[in-house]
Symmetry: C2
Subunit: 412 residues, 2 copies
């Protein structure tokens, strides 16, 4: 009967699946005061989070020769070597991880592999394990008993690239009921190596907005999360690093900018009850998405009145032969940056309702650089918000806090 | 500058990401007549599909001692040992995989791990690699230039379990425009070890429906894909296998049935423009979901006029002390099964507009059993559709074909 059942009756898909995990979690919590991370797949006991905040990772691998855990900055200075127990299960406990969301992976005999116990997320240009470490007392991104919006998957065909594009659209609570109401739009961009799913799966943007809207702190808005990559057919391969020429970056971002302006915005305006003018349209993005935001907004200021750059380098120059690394190292000049976007502060302040810059204090050079840019802008009469996320690095806890600060400032 | 860029400027998240993959794919195709599988993450060259249908898997692992590929039935009789090349990259080419979607994994020094080159999917109760092998000449589940519906994420709080539930809802093309139109509803259930994302991510149900609706072959309908697991708080752990007592199965499915009838359907009716009567409501499911379908429909025939069980065992008895394995082995009696649901054929045929049963010919015992059940029902005067998917096993190509046959028969 075992053979019949595991192979034939339900096929291998179903073998030995434990269905009731609430009970298993409860058990874990009482027995050793640790509980499975909220990012575990249902039923997985590891990774587990101890009541004092330590995190234990385990992997059963009797035949392996070495295993380490490595991951995002907030996990600590890894890789962390795991030790093998008598039963062939390797484990390591990490002492002071920063709360929030971290990508991580096992290095199993030299190969980076996922943890079968965790959900996977699009990051590092692949599907990768992530762990959610609750921040004590913090619930602004939790699913709560408030009215919830919807996150909708939509496909549209780009004439510019000739490819179908997948976009996620958050519609706020009440959108389906208030059929005569129209809504402002936030275009929200992800970072490099991630995709259009990042802001909802890792960022929990939909719950942040649900909670802010329920508390009357943010205007109900439509949030558009597109895929930030776009290459015209037969375009060369492209990578962003310190050696990237600004001219190449402009070319690459230019294709995406064309899609946003000429395809995405018209698609959204045709599909949803938007208020289709610049005073009711914001653009924001993190890391690469922040660079794209300033690139797009500076060239299309007639489309956006709210601009936010999260954990991103603010370019100083526009010489196509300069590299990103060179640009980063010289001083930001508000008179010349972005082809003079900020040079006339009076004009800029009249036209742009909000310029919002953010960085985590643990982002080191990005944090310092963005702070310098904010100071330089202020000296020139432009008044950006500079939001600092304390104790967090180039990771999602920074960007969740960013959105929580940013969204209430939009469309006022 | 390299250090600055990979660590600080964009953080490790962004290291060495190649952004332009259309070009890379093109290159691969011309150089060795193979191309990356459509299920690869953008930029990954492996797994690759050769023009003659063979599939090559590779993994770079210079320090590993042994690697195999294993996966769903349609890949062939694995595991397939990989061989190590001089550069530390292991590879294997598989000759006759069945077209369609297969879960698979590497066994790396004894540990089952994902392929970093592929997307992951919820299956086997975790996130697992999958490969899409195109079926020549078949495009009924492709994204085409037809009007597209939306897939919407919705959350609702279950009073029965005390937990938030995540449901995906397909709304057909035109739903946003035809504001006075109301639509029939198909409740579509997944199998064991999978979740509410299976029908869209693996099954491509949204594209199957878009294409059928565009061709005028299926009625525009709302499709509701809920999570098929539900346990009341403090309920014991539960697994389904041949030793499972029918009484335990009834208890377990009973909780989910209560949620479907008393929480899911009212939530959907309150949130979407449904036609809220049994003649405009169908229920269908695959494998475990097919068992749930018959369990729920047989007890709530006042709610559903269309019933479809895909690749699922049709129970014969209801003795709570009998095991699933025992039930499977005895002959199906239409007079007594499901507490006499089929016993009065005239009454059943009047009340149920469609009873649809399906199985893949490579599902062995399930295919044979479902065929026997269909025959027995016919001898008793009930006229089920029995759809056979030729050459496919307990995998998604079977269920895609099922939906393509089933959807046009609904709400006629």
């Amino acid at each position: 009967m075992d053979t019949l059942c595991t192979r034939n009756l339900y096929s291998a898909t179903a073998a030995a699946v434990l269905l009731s995990l609430g009970a298993a979690r409860l058990l874990a919590q009482t027995s050793d005061e640790s509980s499975p991370a909220p990012s575990n797949v249902p039923g997985a006991m590891s990774p587990s989070i101890h009541s004092d905040g330590r995190v234990t990772f385990t992997l059963r691998a009797p035949e392996a020769h070495s295993i380490q855990v490595a991951g995002g900055d907030g996990l600590g200075k890894g890789p962390f070597p795991m030790t093998k127990g008598a039963d062939g299960t390797w484990s390591v406990t990490i002492s002071h991880p920063v709360p929030g969301f971290h990508y991580y992976w096992f290095i199993l005999d030299g190969v980076s592999v996922n943890d079968p116990g965790s959900e996977t997320y699009n990051g590092y240009s692949k599907e990768i394990s992530g762990i959610e470490i609750p921040e004590p007392g913090v619930d602004f991104y939790a699913v709560k008993s408030v009215p919830h919006g919807e996150v909708r998957e939509r496909w549209y065909l780009s004439r510019i690239t000739g490819q179908w594009r997948h976009v996620l659209v958050y519609t706020p609570p009440g959108y389906e009921r208030s059929l005569s109401r129209r809504y402002p739009v936030l275009i929200l961009l992800h970072g490099m190596g991630e995709d259009e799913t990042g802001w909802t799966r890792q960022g929990k943007a939909q719950f942040i907005l649900d909670n802010l809207i329920a508390a009357g702190k943010a205007q109900p808005m439509i949030v558009v999360m597109d895929r930030g990559y776009a290459v015209k057919s037969a375009a060369p391969q492209f990578a962003i690093n310190g050696d990237t020429r600004l001219g190449d970056l402009q070319l690459y971002f230019g294709t995406f900018a064309d899609i946003v302006i000429h395809e995405l915005i018209p698609t959204i305006d045709a599909s949803y009850r938007t208020i289709s003018d610049r005073r009711h349209r914001a653009i924001a993005g993190l890391s690469m998405g922040g660079m794209q935001t300033l690139f797009i907004a500076s060239r299309h200021l007639d489309e956006f009145a709210y601009i936010a750059s999260l954990s991103a380098v603010v370019l100083g120059g526009s010489d196509p032969d300069e590299t990103l690394g060179e640009d980063f190292q010289r001083e930001f000049d508000p008179k010349t940056a972005y082809d003079g976007l900020f040079s006339d502060a009076v004009k800029f302040n009249k036209r742009v309702k909000l310029l919002w810059l953010g960085a985590g204090t643990e982002e080191e050079m990005v944090h310092a650089k963005v702070g310098e840019v904010a100071d330089a802008l202020r000296r020139n009469g432009v008044q950006p918000v500079f939001f600092e996320s304390h104790g967090t690095a180039h990771e999602w806890q920074t960007w969740r806090r960013d959105l929580y600060d940013l969204a209430p400032r939009l469309f006022r």
